[in-house]
Amino acid sequence: DAGITQSPRHKVTETGTPVTLRCHQTENHRYMYWYRQDPGHGLRLIHYSYGVKDTDKGEVSDGYSVSRSKTEDFLLTLESATSSQTSVYFCAIREQALADGTQYFGPGTRLLVL
């Protein structure tokens, strides 16, 4: 499972509250990614990181911010959660030993914004 954990695994929150999701990896991978998965949309990239303090936006970055102060942790923050951010969030790492871009995924976080 490439040593990827996500916390929390489930969260219910109210509109307007801040929410932070954590992705933790144990194998020192350089690239980390946050996706959201919604019915009919597959996986869409929110933000990704290519090193400590190095991040970039993905396809659906509005309303989200990220931080990576340590190699092992990649945090996704919803500054003021909205109902449209109800989704399943997946973290992934890229196996850098392979040049082909294979990604390994965490178990996901189910977020419900009421």
Partner: protein
């Protein structure tokens, strides 16, 4: 926007039959990958085919790639109940951005 479009969106077959899923994409790619997702779980990498390859096998999986048509297919032979899952194609675009772009997936159900 999504790079890959998958067809069909859902597929239901009997155990033992073969299952074929298709993926089309829009831009040039380094490689195309297929992932499986069991209900409530994260995605698991199945197989990768590079842009200079036309066919690849792994166990009961066969992947083809036609770069002229910008399409790929995943064939699962002799299906089993445990193959019930959603299957996604993902393209590694030829832009050095280290990102994958996923299709919307095919939901495969294997009936015993």
């Amino acid at each position: 926007s999504q790079q890959g479009e998958e067809d069909p969106q859902a597929l239901s077959i009997q155990e033992g039959e073969n299952a074929t899923m298709n993926c089309s994409y829009k831009t040039s790619i380094n490689n195309l990958q297929w992932y499986r997702q069991n209900s409530g779980r994260g995605l698991v990498h199945l197989i990768l085919i590079r842009s200079n390859e036309r066919e690849k096998h792994s166990g009961r999986l066969r992947v083809t790639l036609d770069t002229s048509k910008k399409s790929s297919s995943l064939l699962i032979t002799a299906s089993r109940a445990a193959d019930t899952a959603s299957y996604f194609c993902a393209t590694d675009e030829n832009q050095g951005a280290q990102k994958l772009v996923f299709g919307q997936g095919t939901r495969l159900t294997i009936n015993p």
